[in-house]
Symmetry: C3
Subunit: 159 residues, 3 copies
């Protein structure tokens, strides 16, 4: 599967801690760019980031204008029913129009390119999940200690 | 105190900028994992992250479902009085059930393991605080420049 | 322009993904500290972070207490009309009182100190912007791949 990876001695380890569209995409896009450069790339999904690789959730990651004034919606309106759905649809459409794959397809693509995907043991225990709940491209559930060990010599991103 | 630190030549510098439970724990957990691997570990608390080491606040870090659709509560309900309290209690219980220490105990444990804890000078001035307001394990209030200097050769995380 | 940069062999690459005052300032402050130490410094503005270098927006970056319980305002009150304006004014005043420049002045100062500022191609396309929409200190619109290439050997921060 490592079509692209391991062409350089660079290594990139990305900790993904958010489960929203605008939280997840930057990680995936950076991972994709790194893999295309032949960089060994690891993604460690923790806290809300676990949603990005959870079968039942990865197809439905939301985005909300609540608490994000950058989206340009008044905060008095943003929490109203339906607003998050509208914002999510709009962002999905914009991303789709740029030919950027949706989350599930993106995760599969990264895995095909040689990315290593890991789920955080502590979060898995906290949410009462198990290995079967994750996308098949996830290699294993590992501890923060395992992740720290494998990140030796890597550039790190916490997203 | 350096029971674990300095067994390798790795160095990890974590900038902690958030003062919520879900913002703070990932930093503390990564620091703990790094220290257990013998990695020299520094935490620089800045902006809202300063709450994590402020005596009066560290015992009461909140978490809110507002603006975080990953928590599964409708955004029209999330801002209602009491909801943040419920969410905070639930997360604290889940963390406690995993035998993960509460924030104050965790900060003390990291310090005992050899972590170096620093408060950001600019934020301290912005909030009209002084050194006496922080947990005793904080070594000093330092500038961003001091932090950049000490991070030479380190892996960085901004959380 | 490189009055300060390139005095060491260190390199810092900061990905700026947020467009709020409390999201943007930590990046700018770290960049400033790094430049003062003679470190080659790159800032890559992506997603909401693009607002920080967009001519029409950089003077009006907001901050909101919504979803940020660290600001101490009840979440039932925070979304009310006017609250974000009050919070933004208060933070701007506090930052001004510390003699920290406002966003536009800060971006210019960083550029004068030798910082390299880049806009993310994908976000630019997503928001239907073009090069003319950005502050003149922005060197170019580049892809995530270009950014990954230029970050070889750098310390990374994702803010």
């Amino acid at each position: 599967m490592d079509k692209f990876a391991d062409d350089t001695d660079r290594k990139l380890c990305i900790i993904v801690s958010k489960g929203t569209l605008d939280g997840a995409y930057p990680s995936l896009i950076m991972a994709n760019a790194a893999l295309a450069e032949g960089i060994e790339t690891h993604l460690f999904f923790t806290f809300w980031g676990l949603d990005v690789i959870t079968e039942k959730k990865m197809g439905h990651l939301p985005v909300t204008p609540v608490g994000n004034p950058s989206m340009g919606m008044p905060q008095a309106v943003a929490p109203m029913p339906g607003m998050a759905t509208v914002a999510t649809k709009m962002m999905k459409k914009k991303i789709h129009d740029l030919d950027v794959p949706d989350i599930e397809e993106f995760v599969e693509m990264l895995s095909d390119m040689g990315a290593h995907l890991w789920a955080c043991r502590m979060t898995v225990d906290m949410l009462d999940l198990d290995e079967g709940d994750f996308h098949e491209s996830v290699e294993a559930v590992i501890s923060a200690g395992d992740f720290i060990e494998m990140s030796e010599g890597a550039q790190l991103l916490f997203t």
